[in-house]
Symmetry: C2
Subunit: 413 residues, 2 copies
């Protein structure tokens, strides 16, 4: 069961002007479930994306990168679950392109204005015929308030959908942002991938959108980890239709830009944290906050060292304030010249915070009972002060439970 | 239960001329167990060591580094279990020095000719009085064939001791090497550390010994992982007493040097692999062999990426030939410009080997039943050909089981 993750409520998911979504049953891998999502974008929509750095990147990721390099606007996204179309060589790229062709023909748009996304089992070929046969049904289902259906249709082994909306004012116009994501490990039992889609009717020029997608990803999807495994299919795209009528955002500065950026980061963090809250076997949601570092890179390096340590993660599963493991993970993060005599570490639950380590060891005033009390919370904050600079970074992760092993040791179904 | 790890047999552990070992009950943390080991070295003995890179390195590691910087020979090692003396600040260093002083006085040797080692619980102070009170008993117990007792006395939560011997001829003289190690995760439930001790009566000049300890560690203790956690106390020392009467090894070249190096690497690999075989909750012993890389560094990077992946480790626990996870871990290792179309991957059990991946995906001739058959073995070899150079590296690891979580989620006893 996810850690403090509210279910989406259909009428709280706001339509984004210029975006219509439709779902259908294609039977990609199993019958009787909606496994195909079509997203149609109004003329003039702009899209920017960030994708997995995995050398074994999936065929749809290759095609997305290629199509996003075109100069014209994007018109459609096609998303299937069941099969990830990863580790499928040249045939995989061909299959992914064929699904784009089918969408292009159906909607009357250029083939390179279509972006494909796949998630599911690796090393299996996409059944393109079944997928394209279901496209007309997905087209018929297209509607502006299709987010609720779509966030269900992109799930694989997520235990619940993740979708939410935000609104803000730009130049006197209401701008809406709605986003959805899926993924519960970076890679599930042989099921690949995190996918994230955020659409807004704000008018954002392409260079600004390209910068925003990286910034937003850095502070959200690139700041989480369940098991440290980076999937072959990870993709996050940011869509701006411009249909709100709000004035264009042309520079990465100014009040409107800052407000929009903050809303996007807020929404993306909600989605990203939602994936951790729904992480495989998760029973705790942990925020690893590293402060007063020399630069953001070293703060992230230490945060990930703590967040990836199986020993820290199993201790948190056991609600054990095991300081030794946390200090140890800070110490082996590979950051040069750390002065452990100056480092301070706190454990908190959002209500209270306990100083647990200072001067190279346990804090003088620390009482085990205080640590134990804080660790009982399902939401735990590990805060570390490096005392060597002004930079900070936060990484969100979950604990490591019996269920993580159970889920991942189960033979592929 | 360890994976294919033979128990030491007392009369197969060969004494090393110039080395005497004694154990005693100091009651460092618990009563009724031998937790103190004293090793006395003959005059003229030389020692070289490699230690943890963890910024929170333990007090005895700091003292060891300091004492090894002296010009004279080493005369004694003192090892305690129960408490790691890590995360203990200035008081920890003082305590470690005090135990060296007590040994120095007892044996009549200089204090900086004594090397201290501790392993056990982190963040607790060493009870120096109890430790020094037991030193006379350890001294009375000193004997040349004390390896069997010592390899038991340095254990913490290891399920069995690791100790073995080798012999070779140098200049017509028989040279003996005996070594022991402890550790079953890089760090156990709050129990720190891997310790490794190898002694030989070969005559090895200090510069050669200094180079050898790094080489040997690189090919053994630095090529294993259980959970990726690098402890605060990890230490490996190589002792050369010179008491065999064999001619001195003065250069890192020549037939004698090569034979000695090979024997040391062989013994150290046996000890290092023994720690993996006795890894927390281990049911499989896995060798990750990366070949035809550009350099050893990138081969190790990929090998560790596979060896650390919780998804690969849980799949191996399940005897599941889950190729997607292996390819994925190769792909996200962070090695630039990997051409996945050229990479080939085999799974083997030491008797047969099955080509499972090529051309960016599943091998054309691969049958799942072949993979399943190989994966049933408790000894599994993952071999990867990167097809881009002449370098190679091997990393040894174990699987991730329910018992790993159980062992590490148990509250500190």
């Amino acid at each position: 069961m996810p850690v403090n993750l509210p279910l989406p409520v259909a009428d709280q998911l706001l339509p984004v002007a210029g975006v219509r979504l439709g779902t259908a049953e294609a039977g990609v891998r199993k019958q009787g479930r909606r496994d195909l999502t079509l997203i149609e974008l109004a003329t003039g929509s702009r899209v920017a994306g960030v994708f997995t750095q995995n050398a074994y990147c999936a065929a749809p990721v290759r095609v997305c990168r290629q199509h996003l390099a075109r100069s014209g606007g994007m018109r459609a996204l096609v998303i299937n679950t069941g099969i990830a179309n990863a580790g499928t060589g040249a045939q995989g790229v061909e299959n992914s392109l064929q699904s784009c062709h089918a969408v292009a023909e159906l909607l009357g748009v250029p083939v390179d204005a279509v972006l494909p996304f796949s998630t599911g089992v690796i090393l299996e070929h996409l059944p393109v015929e079944r997928l394209t046969a279901a496209l007309p049904a997905a087209k018929s289902a297209l509607k502006a308030d299709g987010w609720f259906d779509a966030c269900h249709a992109i799930m694989t082994t997520d235990t619940q959908p993740k979708c939410t909306s935000r609104q803000l004012q730009i130049g006197g116009k209401t701008v809406t942002i709605t986003g959805m994501s899926k993924g519960a490990g970076m890679i599930r039992p042989n099921m690949a991938t995190m996918l994230g889609f955020i659409a807004t009717d704000a008018n954002i020029e392409q260079p600004v959108l390209d910068a925003l997608v990286k910034d937003v990803a850095d502070e959200s999807f690139n700041s989480i980890t369940v098991d440290g495994d980076t999937s072959t299919n990870d993709s996050f795209v940011l869509i701006a239709t411009g249909a709100s009528g709000a004035p264009a955002i042309t520079l990465c500065e100014g009040v409107d830009y800052q407000a929009l950026r903050a809303a996007l980061v807020d929404l993306a963090q909600w989605l990203a944290q939602g994936m951790v809250r729904d992480g495989e076997g998760a029973t705790k949601f942990m925020s690893i906050v590293i402060e007063s570092g020399k630069d953001r890179a070293e703060c992230r390096q230490i945060a990930y060292s703590v967040a990836h340590s199986p020993l820290v993660k199993t201790a948190f599963f056991a609600s054990d304030p095991n300081l030794g493991r946390i200090l140890c993970a800070i110490g082996y993060a590979g950051v040069a010249d750390l002065d452990v005599d100056k480092i301070r570490v706190w454990l908190g639950d959002g209500k209270e915070e306990v100083l647990v380590a200072e001067k190279g060891g346990r804090a003088a005033a620390y009482l085990e009972e205080d640590g134990v009390r804080v660790m009982k919370s399902p939401e735990i904050i590990v805060r570390v002060d490096l005392a060597r600079g002004q930079a900070a970074a936060t990484v969100w992760t979950c604990d490591f439970s019996y269920d993580y092993v159970k889920i991942n040791a189960d033979y592929r179904s």
